[in-house]
Symmetry: C2
Subunit: 187 residues, 2 copies
């Protein structure tokens, strides 16, 4: 059991998701997740801080995609254009795993603690985007508004995407949602 | 101590805020709040579920102001026009207590648990506004986008307002922030 495990993190994640769906998040223990994945609890804790973080391990990749796209946007790009590029980058990261994202969303929606954790994640992503915009010399309030608008688009587009049973491309949905938000504000 | 207390809720709130500033939120107990307000702990619990709710007791009033303004908007009003009226109503409710709001914000900013509770409150307000818009036959995704955009404006305008040491009128700040968001999305 203590031997090297190829892709233990991935197997632990799959085992955890199966158990969260079968028994509910609260009723599942780390010991059970490790057992189902065929590893020790110690191996679990080498990969995840706790059973909640299994569902949030991808948020660092998402944050990096968002902030790097803003940092790499053309110098002439408006704040919202930089955010639109960040949303494309987010769609590329998130859009790879439709089935996983759908299952994950079902687990999160069923548990108030996980919904809170997801809200905190979104707030952290908005703050990171606002910081990346300020690094481009966008003034503070405009940076916050553009970043928060971006997160609204990301959340709504993602919800639309995971609520479709068949995998579709997230990028056009993200762009369409941004266009929708702009149109709604203009009316 | 068990006698009828005029405005016990208000005195408890003031005592709690004083203690949260002096000692920190975590270090303050309900017994200490009650003692400083000159009432029993039992009286505290008649007014507030716990020490955290002292800071969130106003959120029902705010939710009602937002949803009633949307429900009462002219039938011809666009979703965002209804949200703009809701923001005016929110400014009228929140704008009465600048000194209180500043102190409260300082306490919340200093404590991660309270910041999370505030995020959840904002999410609840957005959901209530989206529901009020759907009741006006606004389609689901448009209702969510308009409501979330409204909450972004409310949060940013409120942050601007509480960061000014002298009391100013919240209503023009709220309107200006909505105009700013619209302009940012159009660029």
């Amino acid at each position: 059991m203590a031997r090297w495990e190829p892709d233990a993190a991935g197997r632990l994640r799959e085992a955890a998701m199966d158990l969260y769906v079968e028994r509910g998040f609260e009723q599942t223990t780390v010991a059970e997740i490790a057992q189902r994945a065929g590893v020790t609890a110690r191996t679990f804790f080498r990969h995840y801080a706790d059973k909640r973080e299994v569902l949030f391990a991808g948020s660092a990749d998402l944050r990096n995609a968002l902030t790097q796209a803003i940092a790499g946007a053309p110098a002439t790009a408006s704040p919202m254009r930089a955010v639109a590029l960040a949303l494309d980058a987010a769609a590329a990261v998130l859009g790879r795993r439709h089935a996983f994202s759908r299952r994950r969303q079902g687990i999160i929606d069923a548990n108030p603690e996980l919904r809170e954790r997801e809200l905190i994640k979104m707030d952290t992503l908005a703050a990171a985007m606002a910081g990346a915009l300020r690094d481009r010399d966008v003034p503070g309030p405009a940076a916050t508004l553009a970043a928060e608008a971006g997160i609204v688009v990301l959340r709504v587009a993602f919800e639309r995407w995971v609520s479709t049973p068949h995998p579709t491309d997230l990028t056009p949905l993200m762009r369409e949602t941004l266009t929708d938000l702009t149109a709604i504000l203009d009316r």
